[in-house]
Amino acid sequence: MIWVNYPLVAGIIFCFWIAAIIIYASSGGKKIFNVLGGVLTVIGIISLMVFIITLWNSLERPPLRTLGETRLWYSFFLPLTGFITYLRWKYKWFLSYSLGMAILFLVINYFNPETFDKTLMPALQSPWFIPHVIVYIFSYALLAASSLVAIKGLYLVYSGRPWFNTLFLADNLVYIGFAFLTLGLLFGALWAKAAWGHYWTWDPKETWAFLTWLGYLIYIHLRFFHPKKIKFQLWVLALAFVILIICWFGINYLPSAQNSVHTYNSKVN
């Protein structure tokens, strides 16, 4: 059972990433420290990737089913996104944030591991399963980051400081995140045709995924049409993330979602 090894692996990654955050915070612009921080970050990412691959092998199915398993992917993609963004735009604080979030998810998994059993119900056995879920997780990681950037942007705007670069980062994250969100939605539609006979049935999860998409769509259009009215748009961006959270976690508590086909906790119908 590979899950037995999790505390050790997670512990090692935890130490690497904490070290990276500390090094970045105290580097003071020295190149050697930045390189060292980068190396530690990357070692952590690779270790987690190896763990996921091994887990995948031992489960004999992709580890994308339980919340605990998706948290692993989240912990993997967040630092990856952070690191690529860092290489491109040199935002150290953003990399530290994504490492912090990833660590948080690692810790949650340590205290609250899900049953990592091997069974995968027939409805989920499809070539669409992996692209659908991975694309969504990646998109959520980016959009979560963008909402944090939005909060920072709001702080800057309200305190009268320069915000241009912050908004530029938010826009880039939203654009890339939105592209992935679109792909996730469409892959879901193509899969639904094969699994349930129709590409769109207004299932509650579909409706909320569509709402999430619409939220970011509104943000993108507002940003494009009114590049200077930033306060309102930053609030829209923050609000869009609330819809995303409802779609991801909250859906099981909505009265409209009692018959959702996306609730996988119960037995197969």
């Binding site: 091997k118 027939p122 094969a194 129709h198 207004w202 769509l217 049409f225 409209s256």
Partner: protein, 402 residues
């Protein structure tokens, strides 16, 4: 030429006005139940597209046409449409017709209501004019924009118009007869151009799990992930204070008075001969457990005062129906229909939908869903345009709009 000075206020007045008009119509006229089917929908499609084209060709400088492709019209209709979708997200779409405010306003069947149809039509007009504006003259830098916007337009347009041609029926295939008729959701019978005969229904299962449960509550004792385990090749499992050894395991077996034997009877169940050592007290217990079936009672092993060792019902790995499909022209084809793997014939997709759950694996019927959606290729064109647009967007980042 005058330029219309309408902005967001007017944009929202128009889209909200249409929304209210829709709800008023729903309230007074009831659910429209309009389902455009072939060939009326294709005439409507061609009519709508030609009308948009003609207006764009002759009146593209007109202030109203210009306004309809403006940012004010776009943002206000996206927002209004989002509001409508938000209602769908919160109100259960049961579609029942009780005589209360919710159902009189169509709030529980919004996707087939007047407000929804009217808003979609307005949305398609605005989006259409936006596309036409960017389309002529065609510029290379607009490719990403056009893929995204046209893709969405095609999906919404084709999904709306194709709705009337979409058929979803259910057939109950069995071992004895060839079935030629199917039912819709209202139990209306349809004579089909194809027939199905069930050859064999099957469920393949994973190995069952064993679990230590609390005798009183019936829930898994202690930490959930420590006290459940799938039966595997490893014979030894430690759960809390119990050291469990699996001496024998049969995936399909039957009870013969004092022991299980592996057989493939109808109603056979998985079973295991288990011995348990209590690590604290050193006590040893031995016995058979089974998850049971519709013919066989479940058996568990009492571990101590509070705890039972049980076998959970095996979880299905694969549902499949081996069937013979016969067409009116007399062709006979064997096919295997599985979840996620529909079988396609004569424009119909055949899906594995259900079975007799009481009999499980030995079900003598299989419920097959038949779906026909002739507009699907058009929707797919839209979906693939949107996928291409998304890849474009990813590649370009924010530059796409700069």
């Amino acid at each position: 030429m005058k330029y219309l000075k309408w902005k967001y206020k007017e944009g929202f007045i128009i889209s909200f006005g249409l929304l209210l008009l829709g709800f008023a119509m729903e309230f007074f006229l009831g659910n429209h139940k309009i389902k455009l089917s072939w060939p009326v929908n294709i005439y409507c499609a061609l009519g709508f597209i030609s009308l948009m084209g003609i207006i764009n060709y002759y009146y593209r400088g007109h202030q109203i046409v210009k306004w309809l492709s403006s940012k004010y019209a776009s943002v206000s209709i996206i927002s209004t449409f989002s509001l409508l979708v938000l209602l769908i997200g919160f109100i259960p779409q049961s579609g029942s017709f009780a005589n209360n405010a919710i159902s009189r306003l169509g709030l529980n069947s919004l996707t087939s209501s007047w407000p929804f149809s009217i808003i979609i039509l307005y949305f398609l007009s605005v989006l259409g004019f936006v596309i036409l504006k960017k389309l002529t003259p065609l510029k290379r830098k607009n490719i990403g924009f056009l893929l995204n916007h046209t893709g969405l337009w095609v999906i919404a347009f084709a999904a709306g118009l194709g709705n009337g041609d979409f058929k979803r029926l259910v057939m109950e295939a069995n071992l004895d007869n060839t079935v030629w008729h199917a039912f819709d959701r209202n139990n209306k019978t349809y004579e089909m151009p194809l027939a199905i005969r069930l050859i064999k229904f099957d469920i393949e299962s994973y190995n069952p799990k064993i679990a230590v449960i609390d005798k009183v509550t019936g829930k898994i004792s202690g930490k959930r992930n420590k006290n459940v385990s799938t039966i595997e090749k490893t014979k030894q499992i430690i759960m809390g204070e119990f050291n469990i050894t699996i001496n024998k395991f049969y995936k399909e077996s039957y009870w013969f008075g004092s022991l299980f034997k592996p057989v493939e009877y109808t109603g056979a169940a998985p079973s295991a001969l288990i011995s348990v050592v209590n690590i604290n007290s050193g006590d040893t217990i031995q016995g058979w457990i089974t998850s049971g079936s519709y013919k066989l009672r479940a058996q568990s092993l009492q571990l101590d005062e509070n705890n039972l060792l049980v076998m959970l019902s095996p979880e299905p790995r694969r549902f499949s129906s081996e069937v013979q499909v016969i067409t009116k022209s007399g062709s006979r084809k064997r096919a295997i229909i599985e979840v996620n793997k529909p079988y396609k014939i004569m424009g119909w997709n055949l899906y594995q939908l259900g079975y007799n759950q009481k009999m499980g694996k030995w079900s003598e019927i299989s419920i097959i869903e038949l779906v026909r959606d002739p507009w699907l290729p058009v929707v797919y064109v839209g979906i693939f345009m949107l996928i291409a647009g998304a890849i474009f967007m990813f590649w370009q980042g924010k530059r796409i709009l700069d």
